[in-house]
Symmetry: none
Subunit: 356 residues, 4 copies
Amino acid sequence: MSKKFRVAIIGCGTIAHSAHIPNYLKIENVEITYFCDIIPERADEAVKKYGCGKAVYDYRELLGAEDIDVVSVCTHNDYHPVVSIDFMRAGKDVLCEKPAAKTLAEVLDMQKTARETRRMLSIGVCNRFGTAVNKIKDLIDNGDLGEVYHVYTAFRRQRSIPGLGGCFTRKDSAGGGVLIDTGVHYLDLILYCLGEPKLLSASGKAYNKIGWDIQNYVYSGGMWAEHTADFENGVFDVDDAVTGLIRTEGATISFNGAWAQNIAESENYIDFLGTKAGVRLAYCGNFKFYHIKNGMLMTSEPAYNTKDFYEEEIRSFLESTVTREPNRASIDHFVPTAKILQGIYDSSDQNREVTL
Amino acid sequence: MSKKFRVAIIGCGTIAHSAHIPNYLKIENVEITYFCDIIPERADEAVKKYGCGKAVYDYRELLGAEDIDVVSVCTHNDYHPVVSIDFMRAGKDVLCEKPAAKTLAEVLDMQKTARETRRMLSIGVCNRFGTAVNKIKDLIDNGDLGEVYHVYTAFRRQRSIPGLGGCFTRKDSAGGGVLIDTGVHYLDLILYCLGEPKLLSASGKAYNKIGWDIQNYVYSGGMWAEHTADFENGVFDVDDAVTGLIRTEGATISFNGAWAQNIAESENYIDFLGTKAGVRLAYCGNFKFYHIKNGMLMTSEPAYNTKDFYEEEIRSFLESTVTREPNRASIDHFVPTAKILQGIYDSSDQNREVTL
Amino acid sequence: MSKKFRVAIIGCGTIAHSAHIPNYLKIENVEITYFCDIIPERADEAVKKYGCGKAVYDYRELLGAEDIDVVSVCTHNDYHPVVSIDFMRAGKDVLCEKPAAKTLAEVLDMQKTARETRRMLSIGVCNRFGTAVNKIKDLIDNGDLGEVYHVYTAFRRQRSIPGLGGCFTRKDSAGGGVLIDTGVHYLDLILYCLGEPKLLSASGKAYNKIGWDIQNYVYSGGMWAEHTADFENGVFDVDDAVTGLIRTEGATISFNGAWAQNIAESENYIDFLGTKAGVRLAYCGNFKFYHIKNGMLMTSEPAYNTKDFYEEEIRSFLESTVTREPNRASIDHFVPTAKILQGIYDSSDQNREVTL
Amino acid sequence: MSKKFRVAIIGCGTIAHSAHIPNYLKIENVEITYFCDIIPERADEAVKKYGCGKAVYDYRELLGAEDIDVVSVCTHNDYHPVVSIDFMRAGKDVLCEKPAAKTLAEVLDMQKTARETRRMLSIGVCNRFGTAVNKIKDLIDNGDLGEVYHVYTAFRRQRSIPGLGGCFTRKDSAGGGVLIDTGVHYLDLILYCLGEPKLLSASGKAYNKIGWDIQNYVYSGGMWAEHTADFENGVFDVDDAVTGLIRTEGATISFNGAWAQNIAESENYIDFLGTKAGVRLAYCGNFKFYHIKNGMLMTSEPAYNTKDFYEEEIRSFLESTVTREPNRASIDHFVPTAKILQGIYDSSDQNREVTL
């Protein structure tokens, strides 16, 4: 890309360091001009670590900055909408981490603002840029699976609560637990592969059965997330397990997810059931393609070149700011996913199926 | 058991030969007095094979017979209600194969007749007599799992349609496919283990996406069921895949099932998610118990003596005819399972959640 | 098949009992009328075991028998030509075990006799009736592999000499060792799959480096073949290892084989290298299909119904005796394989490539 | 070594950076005085990277240089002979990368020049300095394998073409493909282990069946070689697969190799079949020793200290320049390997076995 991009990073936590910053720095003509975090040390450290940009502690100081072309919003979920909207109103294009917001209403506000301000607003649903995901989408689009009539996905781990007692596990900051933080990736990539069919209804149940008892939470060590846990005074008031069934005008989608469950088998996959063939995708891994050839049931494992989905996500976002065409991860494409998340939480609260 | 039991076998097909007859013959004081089948050769062959009983070709000839104490109904599903009801009205106790009937209405008729005639009517939900199932029920009843809040079960195989084009795959004779024939076992044992909680609603979708195309059905050989298939003129108008979500006053239950799917991984298990511990039962096999001990996440595999669940089922039924106390597999205990089956099929037809 | 077949079994050893007799008995309208063996006990035992037929000790007594339609020749290799030719001259159709004969000259004599007498003469190259082999042939014929330019096959085992010191390991009775007894299957099925391309040359070397020292032959027990070994006075004067390269007008074929080698890794497979795709067949097992789809290198494992290749071989042979059309295993189809066997042995003797 | 060595590196590509330069720098008394490359940036970068030497862009400028004792020739294959010969005529000892040259005629010229000028000329057949290779050679030399009568080697990968469309895949620059670039290592180390037996004949076939179609070449990413590929305008006119059979006065040697094949199983090993024992060497890895002990078939995996074969190669070369005794990798030892390479290519062209 020949255009020069000046980037402000808002929120210098894990996702900024692992996904956004290193991938911006891979791209020619990109300069990070600001690192912003409400914890001043974090902003300062980022400037020092990457040897570029200025440290800022309140994003509002940047709303009038001229040396910013695009903004990456890497804050807690509760700040996603306000930060994104403020920057769009200030004329900047925004890449906002997933989930776009805690509630559907906020997501729709963000979408409305993007339209009014004619700004690009992409959401960090990085799997839309995953190689395997796109290979599967190709197979579906080419008709290799026939009609895809059902998708089942499991995102279940025995123990994987991130930052117990921190911003991930408080409803006021995160909006929810395993569904909105982890399930969002699975459901979004399913909708993407299916071509975003019209949604009909959602029925589900979200549980908080293990995480609430923080002081007695038992886990098998080594997980980054527990290192930041506050076992004394932390709050866990979000879902640590969830189940649901989605109806669309095309396939049904059913799922089970858990950040914590008393089943030791980890299952993290998506099954696409088609009339002609099927696919099982190991989340963030390879897939198997089950098809029929010459009267034989075939199980095929592909090999192919892979690209870093974070880098592709950022390249695609930057390109969209040049072409002024929303990309595949734009807020418009994310709204259906947000509807499902909201629908499942509503269905769980009301203990009945809800219309989407 | 000191009482002598004279047994009539109605229907001399696979289940009679594999489950009922050999297990009656294991029990002291049991005599099979009649083998009945509308296909005369089958009745004749049974008499010859087992060296006992008389061959009959119309069960109605037996309604007045005095040398019958109990009746095993092993016919196609569509004959279950009429045969069971006729024999109960004729004063006989009845063990009827699963599913009790094609529809909930018929099941309720059977229940009503049992009550009116004060006859024992047991259903062949043999897993209620399985050793592992009862070990799990003990763990739940003893509180070892804490609150069981969700159960997920998979009864999914790539290719396992029984008798393609025969009585199993026609709605008029079977009432349904993978849900009513296979899922019935899984759902019934789940309700049994959970203590038959009050049911609230069912949401599901049943599919016929692969089996209908009988002439092009591809399978990997060696399955008994395909040997009897009618690839030319057979009919397949039942569900070959199903998904659903059940709400109860206790746990939710979600499931995926398939007689045929284009995913080669077979999954046949039930996960009980409890607040203190969990269990995964391999269907008709052993289970794993996931619990916490001394701050450690433990995965435990039990070993124990097992009994043949068909033999236990028949012993329990015969005992109930002596004690005049309905057993754990009596029609009253099966009604909730029948409600779920009907609920899922209704929900699928109406494409919305239904109240149970 | 509606025609009735009366069968004489000539030679009642291992292959007769494991392959020929049980498969004839599976087929409707087949009656075994004679069991012949020069060891009288063997013929007598076969009559007793199968409850049919008469025992005969000299096959020449049967040349005038009227109650024989077809003959299975299951003798040692050295008797294959004379027995087959005598029966063809006596008007019988013949299924002769592989290899057809010890030398190409004898094979050509057999072919000549079959033509002169207008008799069916099939050779027991059973892999031509294997399901996986035919699936591969279909893939090749359909062009799925593109041009098959090279085939490599390994039939190598650390220790698998059959009947050390018996009829398998003496050149006078067997004609050769691992190449003519085991390699014949691999090479014949390769030619079959390739469509029997015109042969150009053979270069190879056959070794007798381990078996000759019978008294010090070390093996890991449990192999049937060693049970019949004569470690005292037996003779081993055939090849226990072989390597070769065949040129045809199509693909080249290279191979390594061993009945005995001081390498513990067993390798028994055939690799078909095509320009568009490739196949690795595990001998007598399944195969993998390596192809390209949507820019991905795919490794596919098929599942399919399999049939017993011995039964198919015999059914095909019997059908050919009705239709009077030579089948895919007829002597004409075997001659190219015989040319390769002879060519490799000649090349080994002369230590140079020979023209075929 | 007490003598001081001044080294000129001719050609600053991959092999210079990965093998030659770092290993010269490990050795006491070595100074690299010149880095030469016809691409000036490469020479300049080498000087900068290693902080020594002068950059030169035409090797002929160095023919009269006094501050050079030895020369490492790391150019494309086509420049190996002329550069090596020019430096030998200029009085320098030369270590030339493998293969020594594109054709046997050129190799013989190099040998002749070395003799005439009494210069040391070593070839970079580094496996002659590998620890496992020498352990195997010791076993053979000690008689532990008995007579080694056959060697089979596979150097087969699904996709491993180096630098598609670059100097490796053009016949004018490389002389050939997988045989001359990769097979050379395997065949040379086999001859080394066998004690360089007298060669009799070669029969083989070299194929170009996949690489030629560069624009549609599918590979699974991450291979360095493809990063430099020219998918647009590159040329691939060398062998991507090869098979062959070599006769010697001792063992036969057969092989299959592929830079690209539609078989996903990678096989890179050498099997030495001996009358008393055998060895399988995983190329550049460990080996298994299969022998007989106390009547048992033993599979033994050795453990031992390993040395870097590039460092040993260079130390040995430098030592030879002091002792004036050609080392085990001298041009005289490489000539038999070159004869095989030429023989296989000739045999492939003529489609018949050729005398060596």
